[in-house]
C-alpha cells in the first residue's frame, strides 16, 4: 500500500494548513473512478472551526458526493491537519473514518517540529490504522 501524490498537491495542503492555523484544515483529492490516482484537489470548509476537530458541513458533504458521482470520480484522499499533535490518526479520526477506500492524509505543523511539516498517509479500515509509504512526484 502506498500513496503517490504530486508535489503541487502536497504544497497546497501544507499551505492551507498554515492559512487556517490554529484551526484544523480539511479537504479531499478526487480522481477518476477506479484509477486510485489523486488528481483534483478540493479544499473543504472545516464547519467545526476548531483546533481539535474538523467536520465537513453536511450540506457540503452531500454536494461533494453528488459532484463526485456526476463526474465519475471517487474520493481518493481525505486530508486534515493537526495543529498541536503528531500527524497520526486520533481516536476520533479512527471512530469517524467512513471511507475504507480512501487514503487518510494527515499533516502536522506542531511547534516542536516547526518549521518542518509532517505529511503522512494511512488506511483506516474497521478501526485498524495502517501507515503507508508516500511518494511525491514532481
Amino acid at each position: 500500500m502506498s500513496l503517490t501524490i504530486s508535489r503541487a498537491h502536497v504544497d497546497a495542503i501544507v499551505e492551507q494548513s498554515r492559512a487556517e492555523y490554529p484551526d484544523e484544515c480539511c479537504g479531499v483529492i478526487l480522481g477518476p473512478i477506479g484509477k486510485g490516482s489523486p488528481e483534483r484537489i478540493k479544499p473543504m470548509i472545516n464547519a467545526a472551526h476548531s483546533p481539535t476537530f474538523y467536520e465537513f458541513d453536511p450540506k457540503d458533504l452531500l454536494a461533494l458526493y453528488r459532484e463526485v458521482d456526476d463526474n465519475d470520480e471517487e474520493i481518493v484522499v481525505i486530508y486534515h491537519s493537526h495543529t498541536e499533535t503528531e500527524a497520526f490518526p486520533s481516536r476520533t479520526d479512527i471512530a469517524y473514518a467512513g471511507e475504507p477506500g480512501a487514503h487518510y492524509v494527515l499533516v502536522s505543523s506542531r511547534k516542536e517540529i516547526a518549521p518542518a511539516i509532517e505529511f503522512r498517509s494511512f488506511r483506516i479500515i474497521d478501526g485498524v490504522v495502517t501507515e503507508e509509504e508516500v511518494s511525491i512526484t514532481d
Binding site: C26, F56, L61, L62, S90, T92, Y96, G98
Partner: protein
C-alpha cells in the same frame, strides 16, 4: 410505495455491493426498519440507542434529516434517501 435509498461504500457489504436499493415506509424510521429487514444488520450501523448515529448523515432528497425531524422525517413515494458517512475527526 417505493423509496430509493443510496448506500455508501462502507455499508455496501450489507447490500451485496448495491449502490442503491429500495425500501418502503412513511417515515425515516420505518424506512430504516424495512432496510434492516431486507439487509439484516444495516439498521445497527445507522442507529444507536434508538437515535441516529452521530457519524452518519442521512438526507431526504436534498435536506439533512436533522432539520426534518430526524427519525420522524416524513418520506413519500418517489423520495430519495441518501446515507453518507460524516467526514470528520479530531
Amino acid at each position: 410505495m417505493s423509496i430509493d435509498v443510496r448506500i455508501p461504500t462502507i455499508l455496501r457489504p450489507f447490500t451485496k455491493d448495491q449502490k442503491a436499493v429500495t425500501a418502503t415506509g412513511t417515515t425515516l424510521s420505518a424506512v430504516i426498519s424495512d432496510l434492516d429487514a431486507q439487509y439484516p444488520g444495516i439498521g445497527d450501523r445507522l442507529l444507536e440507542n434508538g437515535a441516529l448515529r452521530r457519524f452518519i448523515n442521512i438526507y431526504v432528497n436534498d435536506e439533512d434529516v436533522r432539520f426534518l425531524g430526524s427519525l420522524e422525517a416524513p418520506v413519500k413515494d418517489g423520495d430519495s434517501v441518501t446515507i453518507l458517512p460524516a467526514v470528520a475527526g479530531g
